[in-house]
């Protein structure tokens, strides 16, 4: 009798099939196939894991665990910070759940994988339109790692060893950047901001930029939600010193904001989660990566790029992965990056999302977000003891909320009790701003949600809760 555990996912686990196959190979026992594994390393016990469950049991079990979570359907959540609540249209989910796309691998065999290849080419093309760049890759992991890759690319491109970033930067992006460039001995310096507006302080930038600077990085909208208006000036300063300008974006803003390519960006990165991908507790995300149409620069791009070509007989158009000599499977230790598996399906979701919205839909969405977030700032500012936003600049989607005489953590607990989740506590990140939280309002928040938040905050601030 052949030892076997017959399971629906393993067709040949049926004992008699196994036996027949073993006879073909000329073995009597599966362990003969492991005879070259040193005996002392063979596991002599059962793995300490649960016993197999039926599908129904798995479903009940996972559902019951997930039910312990409180989601934005159970309470009003006003969190953003690089992972935003947006509505994902049913069409997007429907397309990316098609198993032809979902269960395919990286399109190594182009002729039989045209669907995914064309979809990714369309995604790249849409990213070029949004960012004003000539070329985009087919995805990196997320915004934070894209920042790491962008600075490494700038370092290769300029052969310089310093990077300038704004002081107002997402701390996780900054931490990731440091992890990506520390091993190669690159120095990061922070550029100060204008106290009143939050905008990058150009004098400080001038003082810090030099012929050692590989890249100047800005975010637009910034981590604190204000819109950086001095892109052109920053680009000029960077370029005058031979440095590249890298701009980080939330692409959902690019229906109304000027594409970074129009103000001199050389590389544009960002977080594409906002375009048709759910939050999923922070992953998977979608690292956007685009650059100018410049052959030397393109050769330094990290990640996969899909190109349009023709069949060898010239009869048809087609798509395939291109410039693979940059990549690890060909170039090995000389590759531009080690990335292999990326976030293709999230990129595909973004392409479907943008095809649905079209140019005017993306503009309307941007406007809706502006209107609603401005309304929220207005309502919150009316409350005594609250200033929203701190900075006198235009804002998109996210904004700082400063509490004059309450701690953010206390306000947060008060809100939770009332079934709201306030913004992220950023008081420790920039202590000079005092007790401050970062709030996010998108198209999914209704006027009623915002009014209710304002009422709750009023109650908390006026009440005795501390």
């Amino acid at each position: 009798m052949v030892e076997s555990y017959t399971h629906p996912y393993i067709p040949n686990s049926k004992p008699e099939i196994k036996k027949a196959m073993m006879e073909e190979i000329g073995i009597e026992n599966i362990d003969e196939l492991y005879k070259d594994v040193p005996k002392r390393f063979m596991l002599k016990r059962r793995l300490n894991l649960p016993s197999p469950m039926s599908e129904y049991e798995v479903k009940r079990h996972v559902e019951s665990l997930l039910a312990k979570n409180k989601t934005s359907q159970d309470m009003s959540v006003f969190l953003g910070c690089g992972c935003w609540p947006h509505y994902v249209p049913a069409v997007v989910e429907n397309i990316i759940q098609r198993s032809e796309l979902l269960t395919s691998y990286t399109p190594y065999q182009a002729e039989i994988s045209q669907g995914m290849l064309q979809l990714l080419f369309e995604y790249q093309s849409m990213m070029c339109e949004l960012t004003g760049m000539g070329v985009a890759n087919s995805s990196l992991y997320d915004w934070a790692s894209a920042l790491g890759e962008a600075t490494r690319m700038a370092i290769r491109f300029t052969s310089r060893r310093e990077v300038l970033v704004p002081r107002i930067i997402h701390p996780e992006r900054y931490a990731t950047l440091k992890t990506y460039i520390k091993p190669v001995g690159i120095c990061v310096r922070k550029v100060n901001y204008e106290r009143a507006t939050g905008q990058l302080n150009l004098e400080d930038l001038e003082a810090k930029v030099s012929d050692k600077t590989a890249a100047v990085y800005i975010e637009n909208p910034s981590y604190f939600g204000f819109i950086e208006t001095k892109g052109e000036e920053v680009a000029k300063i960077a370029h005058d010193h031979g440095a590249l300008l890298v701009v980080g974006v939330d692409p959902v803003s690019l229906g109304i904001l000027k594409p970074p390519g129009d103000y001199g960006a050389d590389i544009v990165i960002g977080e594409g989660q906002s375009l048709g991908n759910p939050m999923n507790f922070g992953g998977p995300l979608l690292g956007v990566f685009a650059c100018r149409e410049d052959v030397t620069m393109i050769r330094q791009l990290p990640g996969r790029i899909i190109g349009m070509t023709t069949t060898q007989d010239g009869s048809n158009k087609g798509f395939c992965m291109v410039l693979q000599t940059r990549e690890q499977h060909i170039r090995r230790q000389k590759a531009t990056s080690n990335i292999c598996t990326n976030e293709s399906l999230c990129a595909a979701a973004s392409a479907v999302y943008l095809a649905l919205l079209g140019p005017s839909g993306l503009k309307e969405l941007g406007e809706a977000i502006m209107l609603k977030s401005y309304y929220a700032m207005k309502r919150l500012s009316e409350i005594e003891g609250i200033r929203a936003p701190i900075f006198q600049s235009s804002h998109f989607q996210e904004f700082t909320v400063n509490f004059a005489n309450r701690r953010v953590c206390d306000v947060h607990e008060g809100l939770l009790k009332r079934n709201f989740h306030g913004g992220k506590n950023v008081s420790k990140e920039l202590p000079e701003l005092g007790e401050t939280a970062l709030y996010c309002v998108t198209e999914v928040h209704s006027k009623a949600d915002i009014d209710a938040l304002a009422d709750a905050l009023k109650e908390i601030l006026l009440g005795s809760e501390r």
């Binding site: 555990y5 067709p11 196959m21 073909e24 000329g26 492991y34 070259d36 040193p38 793995l47 798995v58 665990l65 997930l66 989601t71 509505y87 032809e100 979902l102 269960t103 395919s104 691998y105 990286t106 190594y108 065999q109 002729e111 669907g115 080419f121 093309s125 849409m126 339109e129 985009a136 997320d142 934070a144 790692s145 992890t179 819109i227 208006t229 109304i256 904001l257 939050m279 999923n280 507790f281 992953g283 998977p284 349009m308 023709t310 060898q312 000599t325 000389k334 990326n342 399906l345 999230c346 095809a355 649905l356 140019p359 503009k363 309307e364 809706a368 502006m370 209107l371 309304y375 207005k378």
Partner: protein, 513 residues
């Protein structure tokens, strides 16, 4: 034999479709009272930063969007359609229940910065999964953060760096050793972390050359990155000796988990002496690869390396699950937030479905299937099996198409393209680099004997065609959405077209020129 014909829609690029003014989506309404109170959006934006003209996106109705992308999907082969024997990619079945679970709003609608009190369910799942992965790999602690295998490798090499730095040897431990049969990501990750890569050759049995390894190690050695079973599908029998050489030299042993499927429940990397292990969730734990990603690449480490893992760590105090950022020696962050959670949830459900018994069965059957293919393809007599035929392979095997080249000028890529005509995805082609004209075949446990026989049949037919009608192979594929593509033209600086914008520009130039 199935007669395969892939859909051939000749579908235009999305930018060529649609009509001005059509829309595929209605943006949620902004209440009139908000509009009244806030006023004109344009007035809120400084003109300097306003977008002057709309982005050139297509304008389609919802119906057209659905049709366009559904047609594209029909021109894409997938594991749900049949054998996908890409070596080292472990294209196994992706259970449907897991897609249902990841669509639950109790996951999709969770924000990563929510108060820990409100996300206990997902934290419990992640914590438990990390404990299971530690048990499976024989490691002490697991971080779920890396987004992919290569990302896990990058983190692993950073861990090595942190370890040597902690021991005061950062500037002397500059070399990472990698076998010549390694995945390309190994040397690339080592370089990203600032190490010099030292390549050691394989010996006649396809395993790492012990003498060469002894020569390669020195007080500069930071560690060795090794895949076991290796990319030839052969188990590194001398693993104990290898581990001793590296550890005696003061280095660390890194396990590339791309081939972990072969040994689930049979032998554990940690027990073999590996200090750092990455796991390709999208390979070993049956999560769909989505045409290239997302995946997940957790790493497991030994007890003495635990303190270097990235923040936050998910910790459990017996009552609740929390995120711990207070880790003095941590390498920091390698990405935003905590990992590819939707992918990790699928792995959690996968392990529950299979249990300890099922995982071991999966490993054994994947190895049985691979060895069955070794036997059956070898019987054809047209393909060469490099390295000792008597040695069992593990989850994958390599055949060389060299004999066909000698006779008819047929190369591995031609055999691969012809396989597509039979409705079977090609094996990994031209890898590992140490085998000429390599086809790297990994059937996984997910395919029934009949499907494996169909593959063997196709390989046999191709061998026969090589003799009787080699043009069929050289002109393949013919049954796919497009015939063989001009990949040289695609990458040539003069002709490369990487976006629709570039295409339009080239077109305009051609017309005027």
């Amino acid at each position: 034999m199935i007669a395969f014909k892939q859909a051939r829609w000749n579908e235009p690029v999305v930018f060529e479709l649609g009509h001005h003014g059509r829309k595929g989506y209605i943006v949620p309404k902004v209440e009139d009272s908000i509009k009244r109170e806030v006023g004109d959006v344009q007035a809120l934006l400084p003109e300097k930063i306003c977008r002057q003209s709309l982005p050139k996106l297509p304008e389609l109705s919802e119906v057209e969007v659905v049709r366009h992308f559904t047609r594209l999907s029909q021109m894409n082969y997938s594991v749900d359609l049949g054998l996908y024997p890409l070596g080292s990619c472990t294209m196994k079945y992706n259970p449907k229940i897991n897609d249902v679970l990841t669509s639950l709003s109790s996951l999709t609608q969770l924000h990563p910065y929510q108060d820990e009190k409100t996300v206990q369910g997902v934290l419990e799942i992640l914590y438990t999964l990390s404990r299971w992965l530690a048990e499976i790999t024989g490691t002490y602690e697991v971080s779920l953060q890396p987004a992919a295998g290569a990302h896990g490798e990058f983190l692993g090499t950073l861990m090595m760096q942190a370890y040597h730095k902690f021991n005061g040897n950062l500037y002397s431990r500059t070399e990472l050793i990698v076998p010549d049969s390694a995945h390309g990501t190994n040397p690339a990750s080592a370089t990203m972390a600032g190490f010099n890569v030292v390549i050691v050759p394989s010996n006649k049995t396809g395993c790492i050359d012990i003498d060469a390894l002894k020569t390669a190690v020195s007080n500069r050695t930071a560690g060795l990155m090794l895949t076991n079973p290796n990319t030839l599908g052969i188990f590194e029998e001398e693993i104990e000796e290898i581990a001793k050489i590296i550890h005696d030299a003061g280095g660390l042993l890194y396990y590339d988990g791309a081939n972990l499927n072969a040994i689930l429940g049979k032998v554990r990397p940690g027990d073999m002496g590996f200090d750092i292990v990455h796991i390709n969730i999208h390979k070993t734990f049956g999560t769909p690869h989505g045409g290239g990603g997302p995946g997940a690449g957790p790493i497991g480490v030994s007890e003495e390396l635990e303190k270097f893992l990235p923040v936050p760590r998910i910790v459990f105090d017996g009552e609740s699950y929390n995120l711990d950022y207070n880790r003095l020696h941590s390498v920091g962050k390698i990405r935003g937030f905590y990992g590819n959670v939707a992918v990790l949830l699928r792995a959690y459900a996968y392990i529950l479905s299979l249990g300890a018994e099922g995982l071991k069965e999966a490993a054994e059957v994947s190895v049985l299937n691979a060895n069955y293919l070794v036997r059956k393809i070898n019987e054809i007599g047209a393909y060469e099996l490099p390295y000792d035929a008597k040695k069992p392979r593990k989850h994958e095997c390599i055949f060389s198409t060299k004999p066909l080249r000698k006779e008819k000028g047929i190369r591995a890529i031609d055999v691969s393209k012809r396989l597509l005509d039979y409705g079977i995805h090609a094996p990994t082609t031209y890898f590992p680099l140490i085998v000429e004209e390599a086809l790297m075949i990994e059937p996984t446990e997910s395919f029934e004997k009949e499907e494996l026989d169909r593959f063997v049949d196709a390989m046999r037919k191709i061998a026969k065609e090589a003799k009787t009608n080699p043009e069929l192979i050289l002109k393949a594929p013919q049954n796919t959405a497009v015939t063989r593509l001009d990949e040289v033209k695609a990458s040539h600086p003069r002709t490369m077209t990487l976006s629709w914008k570039m295409y339009k520009k080239k077109q305009a130039k051609n017309e005027s020129g």
